[in-house]
């Protein structure tokens, strides 16, 4: 039974992250996912200090708020002339450093395991059940991530056209009257929420993996946004299922295995994708040379 919960959590994390991740990849904001996942650390710490326990809704909200603050700061610096990659770097490292300092100042006596925040431990998920009226209705992680996934699906489905235009041509979107900034922050909010909800299971670093690797793989396999989202969810789920079983065989980190498998699938797509694969393109080029010399 616990296997089921673990795999389900993995699949939910992969799905939630893959969907928002597609837009990040298309908007060349892949590293913002990395930034948010590091930047939320002080938010978690502060919420933990205020709330007193590790798994409260308050922590989720506090961390998500800091995630949005990070995005706001990145935007602000970028607009005042700092190149976007440098803005991302300055903001998230500062916030993460602040988080580490807070951890050592205030929580040395209390148990806030830094390792766990970064790596997560999905194997513990089944032991943390949510109870309503004394009945186990599933692990908290499943509910948390499941809600994040639901939120992402609902919002993106509702505003699909807007998200699509804002990703492709923000200038045109603004000219047509779409509030580009609103959708930007909405997307970032979804990233923050998905990130924080997934922390406990797969940890900060590996959330970034699920945000980027399956969407990038899907990007190499199709020319349509809708299909790209579907493919990346499928690839993400496949990675988490295969990853889980690989981890049990190797007796190693489950989250790490999931990402490694995702990476392997990406590599296969990179080389052998029918439309963009490296190997296939080299074969086509050789064919063209042959045709060109025949034509002479």
């Amino acid at each position: 039974m616990s296997t089921f919960w673990i795999v389900l959590t993995g699949a939910l994390v992969a799905s939630a992250c893959s969907i928002v991740g597609c837009f990040l990849v298309l908007r060349k904001m892949a590293m913002i996912g990395d930034a948010i996942s590091h930047a939320v650390l002080p938010g978690i710490v502060i919420a933990f200090l205020i709330g007193g326990s590790r798994d409260s809704l308050l922590m989720l909200l506090g961390a998500a708020a800091i995630g949005l603050l990070a995005v706001f700061l990145i935007q602000w610096f970028h607009q005042s002339g700092v190149p976007s990659d440098a803005s991302i770097g300055v903001v998230f490292t500062a916030l993460f450093a602040a988080g580490v300092v807070l951890v050592s100042m205030y929580t040395r006596d209390i148990d806030l395991d830094l390792d766990c925040v970064l790596y997560g431990e999905i194997a513990y998920v089944p032991w943390n059940m949510l109870q309503i009226a004394g009945v186990d209705i599933g692990p908290k992680a499943v509910w948390g991530v499941g809600l994040a996934l639901l939120l992402s699906v609902v919002l993106i489905a509702a505003f699909y056209k807007q998200f699509k235009i804002c990703s492709f041509d923000p200038a045109m979107a603004a000219a047509v009257g779409i509030p580009v900034a609103l959708f930007h922050y909405l997307l970032m909010g979804l990233v923050s929420v998905s990130t924080v909800a997934s922390f406990e299971s797969v940890g900060a670093i590996l959330v970034v993996g699920m945000l980027v690797v399956p969407p990038a793989t899907a990007y190499l396999l199709t020319e349509k946004l809708g299909r790209m989202i579907v493919y990346s969810v499928l690839i993400g789920c496949a990675s988490s299922v295969i990853g889980y079983f690989a981890a049990s065989m190797l007796d190693a980190s489950i989250a790490g295995s999931m990402i490694s498998i995702a990476g392997g699938i990406f590599l296969i797509a990179l080389l052998f994708s029918p439309s963009h694969g490296v190997v296939l393109r080299k074969i086509k080029q050789k064919q063209m040379v042959r045709q060109a010399s025949i034509a002479e």
């Binding site: 892949a30 440098a86 490292t93 300092v101 050592s104 993996g209 690797v213 790490g256 990402i259 490694s260």
Partner: protein, 311 residues
């Protein structure tokens, strides 16, 4: 109060101080070029990518040698840079996504290896954890000597090849036209970043290493329009952050040096954004205000003249 001064006589603190300053210096220098080439986040990617290298070094050698760990990290870093380059050159995936992919997949593989090591009962692996989170407090003289040597080499290379790196960063198309081996030089700069990262990981840890590559360089950009001055300032800001960070850490309640160094660097950045002449926010506001007053004055004069003529 007097104990605060005595701390500086402690050789441990001295070593941490020198180590942090050297680290800040070399990161600032190579970070300037990374910044100009829009590769600021390369340091972040490379420091995460180092993990599997370190694990494999441990698994192959069975010992906790820092030198071997550094070698493993460097090899992993170089493979990572090739991977990033391969992905960007050969597919439609852009550089930011390529960085994130390599960062997380390498790190994921590293975590798998790390947990394998942990579960295989080899108790010595605790050295690995410290290595990744940075343990400036345990810096020894030998570590500082290695850092000094590597920093010296890095700064020397950047100084000798300054005009080549400048042209490469400014206009790679023209550089290729003149005959520069652009691909090789790209790899060289990335290799220097790997070197800086590998040296710095021990002191400040994986995440914070990238801060030292980015923040001092960005701060320096605000103060000058000359590349040479920018590189020098970046190195100085980096070293200064190391100095002040160590100072606060040593005289405080055992707060970790790495994060404090990063926070100091960020404070310098905030100061630069606000107060730098010409590019800083305050200067820009003052300039705009004075231009506005001038325009108002001119318009008043013109309308005054018109009135006089009409009379």
């Amino acid at each position: 109060m007097s104990t605060a001064l005595y701390i500086w006589l402690d050789p441990n603190v001295q070593w941490i101080l020198f180590g942090s300053m050297l680290l800040g210096l070399s990161s600032g220098v190579i970070g300037s070029f990374a910044y100009l080439r829009k590769q600021s986040l390369m340091g972040d990617a490379l420091s995460h990518a180092a993990l599997p290298g370190v694990c494999i070094a441990f698994m192959l050698s069975g010992s906790k040698s820092i030198g071997l760990f550094l070698l493993g990290a460097a090899v992993a870093g170089v493979i990572a840079t090739f991977g990033i380059g391969f992905i960007t050159r050969n597919s439609r995936v852009k550089q930011d996504a390529a960085l994130a992919i390599v960062l997380t997949v390498f790190f994921g593989i590293g975590i798998v290896l790390l947990t394998r090591i942990q579960h295989s009962g080899n108790g010595n692996q605790s050295g690995l954890d410290k290595f990744l989170f940075g343990q400036a407090a345990s810096m020894m003289l030998s570590d500082v000597m290695i850092m000094a040597a590597i920093s010296l080499v890095l700064v020397t290379v950047c100084s000798l090849l300054f005009k080549e790196f400048k042209l490469l960063s400014f206009d790679p198309g023209f550089a290729r036209g003149i005959g520069y081996p652009v691909a090789f030089m790209d790899q060289l700069i990335m290799f220097l970043i790997v070197v800086a990262v590998v040296v710095g990981i021990q002191a400040v840890g994986v995440v914070l290493m990238s801060a030292l590559l980015i923040t001092p360089a960005v701060s320096a950009r605000y103060w000058t329009e000359k590349l040479g001055m920018m590189v020098v300032l970046a190195g100085l800001f980096g070293a200064l952050s190391g100095l002040i960070g160590t100072f606060i850490s040593a005289s405080g309640n055992n707060l970790p040096t790495g994060p404090l160094t990063v926070l100091v660097a960020t404070a310098v950045f905030a100061l630069s954004v606000a107060a730098a002449p010409r590019r800083g926010v305050i200067s820009k506001l003052l300039l705009r205000a004075s231009v506005r007053t001038q325009v108002r004055r001119e318009q008043a004069e013109v309308s005054g003249e018109r009135r006089n003529r009409a009379v």
